[in-house]
């Protein structure tokens, strides 16, 4: 079987995978990093969002082998020890979740949004930019507030 090596959350990892193994399967089933979720498995819901070389992508629609040599960040890689990432803190403070299933993807997508759009995000921008992430509890109101607060907090971090 083909071998793949990549950096995940700052750690070099290798594994034997089938060519058809998706990045999300490699993360969850080989590395047991189960914070990255699979919601729809059809590139729509965004629960599987991770960063590949600093860019937000849906890991259910990327092959593990395509990540050879890449630098991956998952939700588990955001906190520094016990200190949450500012976007994680903002989701906690603003209660940007109901069941929590979509939360890892929302947070990874929100950070990608800040990287692309900056720290001052108005509500319309946040709602438009969250098109690739679905919350089936429909708890968008607090998610939007959390993203705006997290974006501002990332500026000082």
């Amino acid at each position: 079987m083909p071998q793949v090596t990549m950096q995940v959350n700052g750690r070099s990892v290798s594994g034997e995978v089938e060519a058809r193994t998706l990045l999300v399967q490699f993360l969850r089933e080989h590395l047991e990093l189960t914070g990255t979720h699979v919601g729809c498995d059809t590139t729509q819901c965004g629960c599987c969002t991770v960063h590949v070389d600093g860019v937000g992508i849906k890991s259910c629609t990327m092959l593990a082998l395509a990540c050879e040599g890449a630098n991956i960040t998952t939700i588990e890689g955001l906190a520094k020890g016990d200190v949450l990432h500012p976007m994680q803190s903002a989701f906690s403070e603003h209660h940007g979740l109901q069941c929590g299933f979509c939360t890892p993807g929302m947070i990874m997508s929100a950070i990608d949004m800040v990287n692309r759009k900056g720290h001052a995000l108005d509500e319309t921008t946040v709602r438009k930019e969250l098109e690739g992430n679905i919350c089936r509890c429909t708890g968008y109101h607090n998610i939007v507030k959390a993203v705006q607060a997290g974006a501002a907090a990332m500026k000082g971090a």
């Binding site: 058809r20 965004g46 969002t49 992508i57 092959l63 082998l65 395509a66 692309r116 690739g132």
Partner: protein, 269 residues
């Protein structure tokens, strides 16, 4: 997904020879359409040839009055290109409306054009702007490129390397999008070129098509009022669970009208 052999060539030549060797090999650019179709087992390939490691296939530049976009340029790069916002804002806006931000971070213009999805956005820009598809073998004119449902003039072992767009005086793209997939139920790209107006429709038929009656009327007078009383001759349109052919025919008229209004409101280049 059925398993396959994965290849990651580092040159176009290697990619082409891998494809030439295997009749059921498939090139992959961003994979935003290919991987979902494989996951649903709608398509099956013995070999996937990932183009990601081939250098010099992305970037946007102006050259001799044209805009040249490398095949592996991602939608996000097209959407945010300062050059396009200055010279061809309609194309940047089209890219901004594809899928969602995470899809735009990976999907590429060459991949979308080669895939020739009947509801994809880019094909309308290629035809309306009379673009040239540059491949590993030749140059293909826009009007000869899209040949059917998911069918193009590309040979099995031929890869798009870039798209060369003419710069219009004014242009706009309007789509009636599916709210979940963001694909075009109907999309209209209207471009006022030097000497003539071109109108290309995506989402409505098996592949992108032009509307001669509208083009003639708009070439005479570039305003939405010029469309009044003109009855377009449309090809056979799609009926699916999202919209009937009649619904699409109505949406075609409306999207062209909106695109003309948006283009006419722009400063002429």
């Amino acid at each position: 997904m059925y398993d396959f052999s994965y290849h990651r060539p580092t040159s176009l030549q290697d990619a082409v020879s891998l494809l030439a060797k295997q009749p059921d090999a498939k090139p992959m650019s961003g994979g935003m359409s290919l991987l979902p179709s494989m996951k649903l087992r709608l398509s099956k390939w013995t070999d996937v040839v990932d183009l990601a490691a081939i250098p010099d296939l992305s970037g946007i530049r102006e050259e001799a009055g044209h805009i040249i976009i490398g095949a592996r340029t991602r939608h996000v790069e097209v959407a945010t290109s300062a050059l396009l916002h200055a010279k061809l804002p309609a194309l940047a806006e089209l890219a901004e409306g594809i899928g969602d931000p995470l899809v735009r971070n990976r999907g590429t213009i060459g991949g979308s054009i080669a895939n020739a999805d009947p509801a994809a956005d880019y094909p309308s820009s290629v035809v309306a702007l009379d673009a040239t598809i540059i491949t590993t073998r030749r140059e293909i004119a826009a009007d000869a490129f899209f040949t059917g449902l998911f069918e193009t003039a590309l040979a099995h072992d031929e890869l798009i390397t870039a798209v060369r767009y003419k710069i219009p005086k004014r242009a706009a793209y309007m789509k009636f999008r599916h709210p979940a997939s963001r694909y075009a139920i109907v999309g209209a790209f209207v471009a006022q070129m030097e000497g003539a107006v071109r109108v290309a429709i995506t989402g409505a038929g098996p592949h992108v098509f032009r509307i001669a009656a509208y083009e003639d009327a708009l070439t005479k007078t570039f305003s939405s009022a010029a469309l009044d009383g003109v009855t377009p001759k449309l090809p056979s349109l799609n009926t699916d669970l999202h919209a009937s052919a009649d619904y699409r025919a109505h949406a075609v008229v409306e999207m062209v009208r909106r695109a003309v209004k948006a283009a006419a409101a722009r400063k002429s280049i």
